[in-house]
Symmetry: C2
Amino acid sequence: MSSTRDIDSLIDMMARLPGLGPRSARRAVLHLIAKREMKLMPLADMMQTVAATARECARCGNIGTLEICDICTAPKRANGMLCVVESVSDLWAMERSSSYKGRYHVLGGTLSALDQIGPEQLRIPAMIRRIEEEGIEEVILALAATIDGQTTAHYIADQIEGRVRLTSLAQGVPIGGELDYLDDGTISAALSARKDI
Amino acid sequence: MSSTRDIDSLIDMMARLPGLGPRSARRAVLHLIAKREMKLMPLADMMQTVAATARECARCGNIGTLEICDICTAPKRANGMLCVVESVSDLWAMERSSSYKGRYHVLGGTLSALDQIGPEQLRIPAMIRRIEEEGIEEVILALAATIDGQTTAHYIADQIEGRVRLTSLAQGVPIGGELDYLDDGTISAALSARKDI
């Protein structure tokens, strides 16, 4: 047994995280070992805490530590609006924009024939129940502009058409985006949705 | 108190690791929470283990779990050669190349007037003791080709000149490197160290 087996395992585990690779994992682990008291031990403790307490909100699917998350229970948020997102990270991205004050519903993925993900594998039935029970008036589909995302949007639209107002995020040129760096699809979408000024 | 305080703290701690930022920290933490049993708990446990067992080799400064590391005690490695590196990550990089079979000495940094790092803050006195005690015949300086690295190399050369053979890593064109992408200093160094073929 090598005497560095545990350190190698730690580097290996870190290297498998999304966004890291072997090089950044080695740097991170050496940094953590060098600052054992200040960094490594608090990080390990916080991981234990989060592992013990993190849970999905039973209503919307957001990650938090309560059965029903802060956003679902916030009294100041609009009850009639439901923003449907693919993932918790998308919900957090919407929240960072501070521009939406309704409720959310996290699908937990997109429909994908290839990966055998149907409506039952997502939170689509729960979403339909919520629309009825919570008296939702508008559903905002904030799904990715990918094939799977748009397939999911079409499926949801079919299911709830006529029952509520159904909208989706506008497509166009990002703020600060330069045309030269945009893909053709975005430019076409921005052109066909052009506005009078 | 926000119900997501612990999760936010964990993201914040991860975001401060070298090589990560807020976005990759969020992705990593959501990934870990989604795979709590398979990823988050083993990672937290392994961090605890490493925090409890990792230590610097008392001889060379490498990170491992033994008082004297595997490289220092390996019977098959050459005793007369000492490769001096700045950091443990540099030692590991040398080892990955599988081209060196002597011993190492990790300085733990480079001399830096700006950061008030002198010879006593590094393992330079320990290195000089080792050269005498271990009968080192060749010291290979594998220090970065930066100003601080080269200052350190000159200082060490002054200290041990005449006592041992002193070498440094060759400078030149990296394997697979294209001239067009190399900086001028590297091209000059490669030109002045050109070899007959």
